[in-house]
C-alpha cells in the first residue's frame, strides 16, 4: 500500500506546484499592462491626484512581489480584495455565483455521467454496426457545434415554440427545489448534450482498447459467457479509463459553463468573469481565473488519483 500512497502524494504535490505557477502567471500577467491597473481603470482623463489616490488605495505603490504574496495569502482564505468598478468585496460578489455554477455543473453531471457511460459501453459493444456509425456522426456533430448554437436551438424549440421551459434562468432564493430544477433545465441540458458526446466517444475508445487486449480474448476462447467477460474481466480494468473520462469531462463542464451561462443569462461565476473582462475589473478577473483553474486542476488530479487507486496491478503488488 505504501507505493500507492507515495504515488498519490507525489501527484498531489505536483498539482499544488502547478496551481502555484498558475497563480504567478495570473497575477503577473496583469502587471504586463501598459501603465498599471490604476491607469487602465481610470482611463485617459485621470488627474495625477486621482491616480495617486487609487494607487494608494489598491496598494500599488508596493513592489509587485509583496503584492503577489499579499494577494495569494488572501486568496488562500477566500479574500480576493475589492472590485475596482463597484468597490465591493470580490468574495461577496462571487461566492453565491460560484455556488450557482457548481449547482448547474452538478445538475448536468448527474444526468450526463450515467447516460453517457451506458451509451458508450453499448456503442463499444456494437462497434462497426450501423448504430455505432450513426452514434459516431451524431456525437461528432454535437462536439463540433459551439455551445451557444445548441443553447439557442433548445431555447427556440423547447422555450419559444412549445413554452415548456423558461429561456432565461433567473434564480430567486425562495424557489422550491423542483422549481429550481425546472428553471435551470435548459442550460443543464445544453451542457449534457456537449459533455455526453465527449464522454461517449472517450468511453467507447477506452472499452474498445480494452476488449482488444489478449486476456479478454483468452477469456472468450475458454468459453466464458459474454456478460461475464465484461463484468469479471473487462470492468475491473475499465474503471481507470472511465474515471479518467468522467473527471476530464467534469473539468470540461466547468469551463464550458461560461458560454452557456451567457446564453441563458444564468447568474453564475462564468458570467461574472465575462462581465468583469469587458469592464476590465481585474481583481474579479483574477479571482475567477484562479477559481476556474483550481477546479480544473483539482478534477484532473482526481482523474489521476482515481486511475492510480483503481489500477488492480497497483492494488495487489507482486
Amino acid at each position: 500500500m505504501g507505493d500507492i500512497l507515495g504515488l498519490v502524494l507525489k501527484r498531489l504535490g505536483f498539482g499544488l506546484i502547478t496551481l502555484l505557477i498558475i497563480s504567478i502567471i495570473i497575477f503577473f500577467m496583469v502587471e504586463l499592462l501598459p501603465g498599471d491597473i490604476a491607469e487602465a481603470v481610470l482611463g485617459q482623463g485621470a488627474t495625477p491626484e486621482n491616480l495617486a489616490a487609487l494607487r494608494e488605495e489598491m496598494g500599488l505603490n508596493k513592489p509587485a512581489f509583496v503584492r503577489y504574496f499579499e494577494w495569494l495569502g488572501g486568496a488562500v482564505v477566500g479574500d480576493f480584495g475589492n472590485s475596482v468598478v463597484s468597490g465591493e468585496r470580490v468574495s461577496t460578489l462571487i461566492t453565491e455565483r460560484f455556488i450557482n455554477t457548481l449547482f448547474l455543473a452538478a445538475y448536468a453531471a448527474v444526468i450526463a455521467v450515467p447516460f453517457a457511460i451506458t451509451l458508450g459501453v453499448i456503442v463499444a459493444l456494437l462497434r462497426n454496426t450501423l448504430f455505432d456509425r450513426v452514434a459516431n456522426v451524431l456525437t461528432l456533430t454535437s462536439i463540433s457545434s459551439p455551445e451557444f448554437f445548441l443553447g439557442y436551438i433548445l431555447i427556440l424549440y423547447l422555450s419559444v415554440k412549445t413554452g415548456m421551459f423558461p429561456a432565461i434562468s433567473s434564480l430567486r432564493a425562495d424557489m422550491s427545489f423542483a422549481d429550481l430544477l425546472h428553471r435551470t433545465f435548459l442550460p443543464a441540458l445544453t451542457l449534457v448534450l456537449v459533455v455526453t458526446a465527449h464522454m461517449m466517444r472517450m468511453t467507447r475508445a477506452a472499452i474498445i482498447n480494452l476488449l482488444a487486449s489478449p486476456y479478454i480474448e483468452m477469456a472468450r476462447l475458454k468459453g466464458t459467457p459474454p456478460w461475464k467477460v465484461i463484468v469479471k474481466h473487462a470492468l475491473p480494468n475499465a474503471w481507470a479509463p472511465i474515471i479518467n473520462v468522467i473527471a476530464l469531462n467534469l473539468a470540461y463542464l466547468i469551463t464550458g459553463v461560461v458560454l452557456v451561462e451567457v446564453v441563458f443569462v444564468y447568474p453564475g461565476i462564468g458570467q461574472a468573469l465575462v462581465d468583469a473582462v469587458s469592464k476590465r475589473d481585474f481583481p474579479i478577473v483574477q479571482a475567477c481565473c484562479l477559481i476556474f483553474a483550481a477546479t480544473f486542476i483539482l478534477l484532473n488530479l482526481a482523474a489521476d488519483v482515481g486511475a492510480i487507486l483503481t489500477n488492480p496491478r497497483l492494488r495487489h503488488p507482486k
Binding site: T18, I21, I22, I25, I26, M29, V30, L32, L33, L130, V137, L140, T141, I143, S144, S145, P146, E147, F148, F149, Y152, I153, I155, L156, V160, K161, A167, A251, I254, T255, V258, L259, V262, L273, V274, A276, V277, S278, R280, F282, V285, Q286, C288, C289, F292, A293, F296, I297, N300
Partner: protein
C-alpha cells in the same frame, strides 16, 4: 389520413421490400426499423413529426448525393495516385471536403458573391427577408446574407491565422525538443504541462482583459494556448523518429540540427501532423467563435459569425431562426473538418497495422 402519410409509409415499405429482396441486410434493418418507429412517431407527433422525418431524410440523401458527386468530381480531376486514395474515402469525408471547398470559395470571392457591402445599411433593423435580401436584415439593417459571406473571410481567416501561429510555435518547439533532448526537452515539457492545465477559454479571457480585444492579441493568445498541444504531439511523433538509425547516421555525418529537422525528421512525421492541424483548427475555431460570441472577438462593424449570433439573439424570442444561421455556419465547418480528420486518422492508423 392525408395523402402525405399514405405516400410516406408506402415509400418506406416498398423500399424495405426492395432491400429485403436484394438481400441488403443493413439498409433493410434501417428502413424497416424506421417504418416501425414512424408508426409510434405518427401516433404521438401526428403528421408534423412524420414530415420532419421525411425532410431530415431528404436533407441527408441530398448531402450524400452532393458528397458522392463531389468525390467522383475530385477523382476525375486529380492525378490518378491521389484519385485512387480518394476513391476509398467515406461519404462523410467527401462531404467534409465539399463543405471546406465551398467555404474557401465564399471566403476568397466574398466581395463578388455578396450582393451588398459588409457594413452597408440597406433596410430597417430586423427587416424580414424579401427579394433583395435572402435572409433579411440584422439589428442595424445590414444584409444578413452578405455579412455571412464576409464572415467566412473574417472568422475563418482569423481562426486559420491563429492555428497556423500555434502550429508553427508548437511544432518548432516540439521538433527542437526531440532533436536536442536533455534539459531543454524537460523544461519545455513541464512548461507545456502548466499551460495546458489552465482552461483555454479562461486563459484567453484573462489575456483579452489585459491587452484588449484586438485581432493581433487574439492570434497571440490562441497561439500560446494551443501551442503546447501541438508541442506534445510533435514531440511524441518526432521522438519515435529520432531513435531511428538513419538519424544516427546523419548525426555521425556531422549534420546540423536544422538539417536533421528539415530533411530527416519532418518528412517522416507529416501525416499525423496534418491530421493534428485539422483537429487543432476545430478547437481554435470554436474558441474564437466563443470569444466573439462573448463580444471579445473581432470588433464591429466587421462581420463575424460569433458576434452576429450575439447581436441578433433577441430575434430568437420571436421564434425567428436568423441568429442560428451564423451559428450553424460555424458548426457546419467544424463538423466538416472533423469528418475529414476522422478519415485521415483512420487511414494513418490503418496503414500502421
Amino acid at each position: 389520413m392525408s395523402v402525405f402519410v399514405v405516400l410516406y409509409f408506402a415509400c418506406l415499405i416498398i423500399a424495405s421490400c426492395l432491400a429485403a429482396f436484394y438481400e441488403k441486410r443493413g439498409p433493410f434493418i434501417l428502413l424497416f426499423s424506421l417504418t416501425l418507429i414512424s408508426f409510434i412517431l405518427g401516433i404521438v407527433g401526428g403528421t408534423g413529426a412524420l414530415r420532419f422525418v421525411a425532410i431530415a431524410a431528404a436533407v441527408l440523401a441530398f448531402a450524400a448525393g452532393v458528397a458522392f458527386c463531389f468525390r467522383e468530381f475530385l477523382v476525375v480531376l486529380l492525378p490518378t495516385k491521389i484519385g485512387k486514395e480518394l476513391k476509398t474515402a467515406p461519404l462523410t469525408a467527401a462531404f467534409g471536403l465539399f463543405v471546406i471547398f465551398t467555404y474557401a470559395i465564399a471566403a476568397i470571392f466574398a466581395p463578388w458573391i455578396a450582393p451588398y457591402g459588409e457594413s452597408e445599411v440597406i433596410a430597417s433593423s430586423f427587416a424580414p427577408a424579401d427579394e433583395n435580401m435572402l435572409l433579411g436584415a440584422d439589428q442595424l439593417g445590414r444584409d444578413m446574407f452578405s455579412r455571412i459571406i464576409y464572415g467566412a473571410r473574417n472568422s475563418v481567416g482569423l481562426a486559420l491565422a491563429a492555428t497556423i501561429a500555434a502550429f508553427f510555435l508548437g511544432a518548432a518547439a516540439g521538433l527542437l525538443a526531440a532533436t536536442k533532448g536533455g534539459w531543454f526537452d524537460q523544461f519545455m515539457g513541464r512548461f507545456a504541462d502548466v499551460i495546458m492545465s489552465i482552461p483555454s477559454l479562461i486563459f484567453a479571457l484573462l489575456m483579452l482583459s489585459i491587452f484588449g480585444p484586438q485581432v493581433f492579441v487574439i492570434i497571440v493568445a490562441v497561439a500560446i494556448i494551443y501551442a503546447p498541444r501541438v508541442f506534445r504531439l510533435t514531440r511524441a511523433v518526432a521522438g519515435n523518429v529520432v531513435v531511428m538509425d538513419y538519424i544516427e547516421a546523419a548525426k555521425l555525418r556531422g549534420e546540423k540540427d536544422s538539417y536533421l529537422i528539415r530533411r530527416e525528421i519532418l518528412p517522416n512525421s507529416t501525416a499525423p501532423l496534418i491530421a493534428e492541424f485539422g483537429l487543432e483548427f476545430c478547437f481554435v475555431f470554436l474558441l474564437v467563435a466563443g470569444l466573439s460570441f462573448l463580444g471579445l472577438g473581432i470588433q464591429p462593424p466587421t462581420a463575424d459569425w460569433g458576434s452576429m449570433v450575439r447581436e441578433n439573439a433577441t430575434l430568437i424570442s420571436f421564434g425567428d431562426i436568423t441568429p442560428l444561421i451564423p451559428a450553424a455556419a460555424i458548426a457546419l465547418l467544424t463538423v466538416a473538418v472533423n469528418f475529414v480528420v476522422d478519415w485521415m486518422l483512420f487511414r494513418s492508423s490503418g496503414l500502421k497495422e
